[in-house]
């Protein structure tokens, strides 16, 4: 006869057990914004280094306004989710090489100001009307010096931003995969998956803002490639759970045959990847497709993906 565990009492600690799910929506929003910023920064810096900033101006110039805003909002969300926020500065008294969160804290500390400098160097070029109204450069003379400095150093900033953006994108996934107590998160593919998803949302945001056909076309192609890679990585992730230990099999059930199946396969995989990928393919083949639709779907899918992973991951555990 099969042995079965009939019953294990929970711990029944009213203030702890219901609140073990301690990461809430700000973390999911931050992971999304971090990936989005990483994607735009990566493409902007890469295209600048390749010397194509006039052919693809959105990626380098006008979309560069998104990363500083996204990173600032993301950082606010992160601090909001801390329970001891007045001690946040403790992150910067040490660097812990084993802690992904420490890596993230330091990378953000460097990337966020660089993203501000990057977009600032294009401020007068992209928003001449706004400047004519605000006249901040006339009022504060030192801004001209800063602008001169940033324009002179654009190439250096770009070279710094490429590895920083990649680390930022990967870290949003590694942050979760380092937790061996949460079987849904604890797999090595989460880092690349979050990076690719971040790059894909970044490309989609550039498509949304772009005004030239050539640029929409290029980023449509890039996005399609990224979607295919992302689908492959998701397949590998599921395969990994499938051949994993009991706790991973149970974790997989949440995504494959459980509370998150509709959200994951319906909204993330189908609406957020397969349908926009198909629409982008049609567009590339010459059919008339409003590229806004797949771009928005990709961004929305990326956001839902973070929510699913954060919520579902915290339900998976070893004991009880």
């Amino acid at each position: 006869m099969i042995q079965e565990e009939l019953f294990t009492s929970g711990r029944n600690i009213p203030n702890i057990d219901p609140s073990l799910e301690i990461w809430h929506w700000p973390i999911a929003v931050y992971l999304f914004l971090g990936g989005l910023a990483a994607g735009i920064l990566f493409f902007g810096a890469l295209i600048y280094i390749l010397g194509k900033e006039d052919t693809y101006p959105t990626a380098v110039k006008s979309a560069s306004i998104i990363p500083p805003i996204a990173l600032s909002l993301g950082l606010l969300a992160l601090v909001y989710d801390l329970t001891h926020p007045l001690y946040t500065w403790q992150l910067y008294t040490t660097f812990r090489i084993e802690s992904p969160m420490s890596w993230g804290a330091w990378v953000l500390l460097i990337t966020t100001p660089l993203s501000f400098l990057w977009t600032f160097s294009y401020y007068r070029e992209v928003y001449p009307k706004l400047e004519a109204k605000l006249k901040v450069f006339n009022r504060f003379n030192f801004l001209k010096t800063v602008e001169k400095f940033t324009i002179k150093n654009r190439k250096n900033i770009a070279y710094a931003l490429i590895p920083l953006a990649l680390i930022l994108g990967v870290y949003t996934g590694i942050l979760l995969s380092a937790f061996n107590a949460r079987p849904l998160w604890n797999n090595a593919i989460l880092g690349p998956l979050f990076l690719v998803s971040g790059l894909s949302t970044g490309a989609a945001a550039i498509i949304l803002l772009s005004k030239t056909k050539a640029e929409k076309h290029l980023f449509g192609k890039i996005d399609l490639g990224l979607i295919i890679v992302e689908l492959a990585l998701i397949t590998h992730m599921i395969m990994g759970y499938f051949s994993g230990s009991q706790v991973q099999l149970e974790a997989m059930q949440l995504l494959v045959n459980g509370d998150f199946t509709l959200m994951f396969f319906g909204f993330v995989v189908l609406l957020g990847l397969i349908i926009p990928g198909f629409l982008e393919l049609l567009e590339l083949l010459g059919f008339k497709v409003p590229v806004v639709v797949p771009a928005l779907l990709v961004i929305l899918g990326g956001l839902i993906f973070r929510f699913v992973m954060i919520e579902a991951g915290q339900l998976t555990r070893f004991l009880y």
Partner: protein
């Protein structure tokens, strides 16, 4: 020196005295606790086995909470005890997410708190509060590095297990079975 706790599940009656002693000794706020009792019924009727045990932080040798901590607030001190420095903790929750035993919680004051093996009592040569009050004397505490200590001898002579060894954390709370 390597501190370890050994708990005899055959002697434990699940009275929760250890839980109350810990709450009193460590001034744990109401509704929270650093140790707790679980009751497991295993098997198929009529061949069933009841197991009661007191659980807490396992003071792992390969502690994921220490690895994940971005500020170094979670650290390991002499004797392998995992401690949290409240003034360095930002309350990010990484350690709570990384603990397979769910042994950590967010203190109402913001920082993360958990069992310390009563580090302050050990320094005075006393046993942890939970061990010292156990009415059935089912809990043992001592140094694993000393082959003649009570815990070393118990682990040498009795069948025992740890919780979730598959998590790879090398836990140091042992259960005699």
């Amino acid at each position: 020196m390597r501190y370890a706790m050994v708990i005899d599940t055959l002697k434990c009656v699940g009275c929760s005295d250890c839980v109350v002693a810990c709450q009193t000794e460590n001034d744990v706020p109401i509704g929270y606790c650093r140790d707790w009792i679980t009751e497991t019924v295993d098997g198929t009727y009529p061949n069933i086995l009841l197991e009661l045990k007191s659980e807490r932080c396992n003071h792992c040798a390969n502690a994921p909470c220490v690895r994940c901590c971005p500020t170094g607030a979670s650290h390991i001190v002499e004797g392998g005890i995992v401690l949290v420095t409240a003034e360095e903790c930002i309350g990010c929750g990484a350690c709570i997410e990384s603990c397979p035993y769910d042994a950590r919680y967010q203190h109402p004051d913001g920082y993360v708190d958990k069992c310390t093996f009563c580090h302050h009592r050990l320094q005075k040569g006393q046993l942890p509060a939970c061990v010292s009050v156990c009415p059935t004397k089912c809990m043992y505490f001592g140094d694993l590095d000393n082959p003649n200590s009570e815990v070393s001898l118990l682990l040498k002579n009795r069948k025992h297990k740890t919780l979730a060894p598959e998590a790879g954390t090398d836990p140091h709370v042992f259960y005699l079975i």
